[in-house]
């Protein structure tokens, strides 16, 4: 038992170290990329008609004239201490800026994933379990699935925004966000449409992935044996099929969730939700280096953490992985 525990802790530490190493590489890349972009913060701040001397004066003022390696070193030391610096635009601490936005993004990510799972899993299961399916039905399903995966979320989002502004009697509104703590019902009304917009793509992926897995597992002999034993369809799906078919779907869910945690840039912009994605776009445009760098590192960290969580979930769902470990 102690051996197992030590082994598990060792594996966890190894994974964490790998994750930290990845984060360090991401941090360096994003820093160098931002500082290598055409148009510095001072140039953007003062506009294209600024004189070179005024641009230089502003860069001196903001400490941007030190060598890029010196600036990188300072910044890396800062993030080791979880100090992400201050926004060049507002002077506010980056941690405070992103802290306020993280809640919105987490809410969107959680709800969109929940909606995608709640919709995608039953449909994927049902489609996979269908005994007979006509070619036409198969084509329709395939077409619907392809469309859901292909239509960009800004198209869906823009269409929804137009509809709710054109028909205010529907009771939804855009350009407004109420935190859950202030008014949960209003919050739900504000986020339900962006959540649905965000959920379409992962739901479609879940349906496709689970459908294929269910069809594969359905033909296994132990499933046939269960049918022969007289188990009901529901029992067969619950006890035999779903768990075996779920592994690839867990990957899809984890990847989607991790992606959403980084900030759903387009949907947040279209629906004007004050999340991380919206901040990222503005910060990149304004060359607010510290904000962009912190967001990318946090987003990457979230993705790594979610992937680690999904690996743990595999072992929960599939005991064979635990035994092998």
């Amino acid at each position: 038992m102690a051996k197992l525990l030590v082994s598990a802790i060792g594996r966890l530490c190894a994974r964490a170290l790998t994750g930290l190493g990845t984060l360090a590489v991401v941090a360096v890349i994003v820093f160098l990329t931002m500082h290598g972009l055409a148009g510095s913060f001072a140039q953007i701040y003062l506009g294209p008609t600024a004189t070179p001397s005024s641009v230089h004066a502003l860069e001196v003022h903001y400490g941007l004239t030190a060598s890029v390696w010196t600036q990188l070193g300072r910044w890396l030391i800062g993030i080791v201490h979880l100090h992400f610096g201050v926004s060049l635009v507002s002077g506010q601490a980056v941690g405070a800026i992103l802290g306020k936005r993280l809640g919105v993004t987490i809410e969107l990510a959680l709800l969109a994933t929940a909606v995608a799972v709640a919709g995608g899993v039953p449909i994927g299961c049902a489609v996979g379990m269908a005994e007979t399916t006509t070619r036409r039905r198969e084509d329709v399903l395939r077409g619907f699935s392809a469309m859901s995966v292909s239509v960009p979320d800004f198209v869906i989002g823009s269409g929804i925004v137009y509809l709710i502004s054109r028909f205010p009697a529907l009771g939804f509104r855009v350009g407004s966000y109420t935190p859950v703590s202030e008014d949960p019902l209003r919050n739900l009304r504000d986020v339900i449409l962006p959540v649905i917009t965000l959920a379409v793509f992962p739901a479609a992926l879940i349906v496709r992935t689970l459908r294929d897995s269910v069809r594969t597992v359905k033909s296994e002999q132990y499933v046939v044996a269960a049918m022969v034993r007289g188990e009901t369809t529901a029992q067969i799906v619950r006890r035999h099929i779903l768990r075996n078919a779920l592994l690839p779907t867990i990957t899809v869910i984890a990847t989607s969730f991790g992606y959403l945690l980084g900030g759903a840039v387009i949907v947040e912009t279209v629906f004007d939700l004050p999340g991380m994605g919206q901040e990222l776009i503005s910060a990149i445009s304004n060359r607010d280096y510290n904000v962009v760098q912190a967001e990318v590192v946090i987003g990457a960290g979230a993705f790594i953490a979610v992937n680690m969580l999904s690996e743990w979930l595999y072992s929960v769902v599939d005991p064979r992985l635990r035994r092998r470990a």
Partner: protein, 531 residues
């Protein structure tokens, strides 16, 4: 046979535990989300009385008014900061913090400050604040662009607590308009010098509103300045500014009532909003203009003035306005916008003449010439204009390739002179002289790599700056415009417009069609809400 996961002895309890854990995580996450997002100032339209909810396409690029060259930023900062003088109705100079001024001689101005004006922290405005503010503007260390417009200022001194004297090196007709520039904001210098106020992080001015909260790139909340010097103003209890980057979302917010006034950069918006009940659109044009910059410095065919004139004459400005700007925007000459500007009809090469353009192309030996046109797609009007210009120049024998660039890349190329043609916009600011400076590379600074100097024009500029007789000055400005027109290096195309749209059922607003681009909401402190 593939092993079934169902054969394991304890899968159900573990699975249930895992599911319970996931549900718990979701719940904790949502609670945590509400806790941190609860710290947000909810940027919702207040159903309560007395709130102006103003939708803007972007946030400030910085909070120091003396150092900010962006109109949108200045329009937000204008809620808090004020100046000695301002542009009033008809874009004429009007008193603001200075109640009156005298000129003991042509190169000296004495301003008498309005009594009982206080900053929002309650401290009385003093002459030392004005002196310190201008010392700061003129200081090279701060890098303010306004310093380049105040080169005639020799010194600024406080004669007493409420009187400030400016001594110029020579008479300057552009001096007073420079004081109305948004960057000439008066800051609380006592607090700044004491280190208790940092303009890069805080707003503290004499204006009608005080910033209560700011969530970067999301929202601002302004409340009335209790110490505002105009009794009975502002008339609303709050100004909520919501940053809505997407124009269609801005329109939706206005339609839905979550915003009751909005600024739009695209010329199409007034047509999109036509017919929307209870929405009034005011197209504002004032002190900015679209310029087609022709690079006559880099080696190439554009160094030939005949080809540049061909480009100028090949542009039908009316057609560009009609097709690209929904009929909005007027043909302009250099530095148009203020009452002293030059007349466009007198500019020979700015009149559309396809035959003359083709003849000039041939005379320049440039038949079949190929050039690129750079622009930044963050301005939708620039995109449309670029396409129309491409088509018009093709008709006169000039092949143009469009090259859209991100703002950073565009700015870099522009300042570095790495382009053939480029679409930008210039601000005349508060006086034509400030617009005309853009055609003098030595004074403008940033145009040296793409704009060759014109000696006759450069010789006129100091006279324009110093001549105070209005009639004489207007004549000099007209001469300068004609010289620029003949050189055809930076071509004024159309006035740049922006649209202010508001809900007439929610707001009693007065929005003028001629306004300085950096203060489109002038007079907001007099607006009231209907509910």
């Amino acid at each position: 046979m593939t092993e079934s996961l169902a054969s394991s002895r304890r899968p159900r309890s573990r699975t249930r535990l895992a599911l319970a854990g996931v549900v718990l995580c979701i719940g904790v996450g949502l609670v945590g989300a509400s806790a941190s997002s609860g710290a947000l100032q909810g940027n919702q339209a207040s159903a309560a009385k007395g709130t102006i909810v103003w939708a803007v396409p972007g946030d400030v690029s910085g909070t120091d008014p003396e150092n900010n060259g962006q109109d949108l930023s200045q329009s937000i900062l204008a809620l808090t900061y004020q100046h000695l003088v301002t542009l009033g109705d008809g874009l004429h100079i009007s008193p603001e913090l200075a109640e009156s001024w005298t000129q003991p001689d042509a190169a000296t101005y004495v301003f008498h400050l309005r009594p009982n004006v206080r900053f929002s922290n309650g401290r009385l405005l003093e002459a030392a604040d004005v002196v310190g503010s201008f010392d700061r503007i003129l200081s090279k260390a701060e890098g303010s662009y306004l310093a380049g417009r105040l080169t005639s200022v020799k010194n600024v001194t406080a004669l007493n607590k409420s009187t400030v004297q400016f001594k110029l090196s020579a008479p300057s007709a552009a001096f007073l308009p420079a004081l109305a520039d948004p960057a000439a904001a008066i800051l609380p210098m006592k607090e700044l010098n004491a280190g208790t106020f940092d303009p890069n992080k805080q707003l503290l001015g004499t204006g009608p509103f005080v910033a209560q909260s700011h969530q970067l790139n999301a929202s601002w909340t302004f409340v009335p300045n209790r110490h505002y010097w105009v009794s009975g103003e502002p008339k609303v209890s709050k100004v909520q500014i919501n940053v809505i980057p997407d124009e269609s979302t801005e329109i939706a917010a206005l339609r839905g009532g979550t915003a009751n006034v909005a600024i739009f950069q695209s010329a199409d918006v007034s047509k999109l909003l036509a017919g929307v009940p209870s929405v009034k659109s005011v197209v504002q044009s004032g002190t900015e203009q679209w310029i087609l910059v022709v690079n006559d410095v880099s080696p190439g065919p554009l160094t030939n003035v005949l080809l540049r004139r061909a480009i100028n004459q090949g542009l039908s400005r009316k057609a560009i306005a009609s097709v690209a700007l929904s009929g909005l925007g007027k043909p302009v000459g250099p530095a148009s916008g203020t009452p002293a500007s030059c007349s466009v009809s007198a500019l020979k090469y700015s009149q559309f003449n396809a035959a003359a353009a083709q003849a000039n192309v041939q005379a320049a030996g440039a038949t079949g010439v190929k050039i690129t046109l750079q622009y930044s797609p963050i301005y939708p009007d620039a995109v449309s204009m670029a396409q129309v210009i491409q088509s018009q120049l093709a008709n006169v024998g000039i092949a143009v390739t469009l090259d859209p660039l991100s703002p950073g890349e565009f700015g870099n190329n522009f300042v570095g002179g790495n382009f053939d043609l480029s679409i930008v916009f210039y601000g005349t600011g508060t006086d034509p002289y400030f617009g005309l400076i853009n055609w003098n590379p030595a004074l403008a600074g940033y145009t040296a790599k793409f704009n060759a100097p014109v000696a006759a024009f450069n010789a006129l500029l100091p006279k324009i700056a110093s001549t105070t007789n209005a009639t004489k000055r207007k004549s000099l400005i007209q001469q300068a415009c004609m010289l620029i027109d003949a050189d055809s290096a930076q071509l004024p195309v159309l006035s740049k417009v922006q649209t202010i749209a508001y809900r007439t059922d929610l707001l009693n607003a007065k929005v003028l069609s001629a306004e300085d681009a950096s203060n489109p909401m002038r007079g907001i402190e007099t607006w009231t809400t209907t509910k």
